[in-house]
Symmetry: C2
Subunit: 142 residues, 2 copies
Amino acid sequence: MLTIGKLAQDTGVKVPTIRYYEQIGLLPEPGRSAGNQRLYGQGQLERLRFIRHARDLGFPLEAIRDLLSLSDRPDQPCAAADGIARAQLDAVRARIRRLKALEGELERMVAQCAHGTIRDCRVIEVLGDHALCAQDHPAAAG
Amino acid sequence: MLTIGKLAQDTGVKVPTIRYYEQIGLLPEPGRSAGNQRLYGQGQLERLRFIRHARDLGFPLEAIRDLLSLSDRPDQPCAAADGIARAQLDAVRARIRRLKALEGELERMVAQCAHGTIRDCRVIEVLGDHALCAQDHPAAAG
DNA sequence: CCTAATCTCTCTAGTAACTATAGCTTCAAG
DNA sequence: CTTGAAGCTATAGTTACTAGAGAGATTAGG
Ligand SMILES: [Zn+2]
Ligand SMILES: [Zn+2]
Ligand SMILES: [Zn+2]
Ligand SMILES: [Zn+2]
């Protein structure tokens, strides 16, 4: 059995984050010691490793919640799990596309600045007027 | 003079967002009509367009706050503004690098799944064990 | 056995950048 | 004059944590 601190060490997830995951129901409530401290077993360790790895790959917690409940039903077809992964892949690709457009505009801005005064700064100028941009770069999360 | 609704239309920034920007001091408090409704002039319109465009390019509000106060001092050298833009460019590039690593892992996961049951699903398997990943993909924001 | 250092406990609040809701007042059109 | 849209304030919710306060538990050394 592991204390919360050991579990944190073994998984790389910080102690308050573990408690937070418990609070939102992503980790089940563990047993407690005589002195009311949380004690975790191997199953919890693996579950938390799964969460950690999925987070590292950018899955939102709600998607992870779904993946975990799927992985509790090993006989079911895996189409739903694959769908979640593909959705995540699409989201990642969309973010890359958007960020590349931003990268291009920022490069142009920085490159065109003559390093004089603010009055003539291309950075300030472009920020004030999207017509000076080479591409459209819609808002969207990023 | 523009009402808040017109200003929202003209800039593409939603009404509650404009009030939020005022609340955090990014937009100065505008004048009011007899009936206590906000009224904006041309200067405010341009300022909000600047904010909107910088947001679209991914600048955080704190950076925008600095850029705005720089742009109020046109005689100053623009090095600080350029520095903020370069920092934003670096941040964007870092996010792209990270997302590309994720994209690669997600592609592999999805491609290797045989579409059987959860028990044999490569997606679930890889999520449970980072050793099955081809690269390291550290946590970090993004 | 006692004490000091380290963990752990609960609870609250704060982060970024908004978005949504509730309940009210004001304005413009017919 | 009435109705519907737009505006007002204030509060709370979003995502995924992180930080802090103040109290109790555990462990290592003496
Ligand atoms: Zn410049
Ligand atoms: Zn632009
Ligand atoms: Zn599968
Ligand atoms: Zn991995």
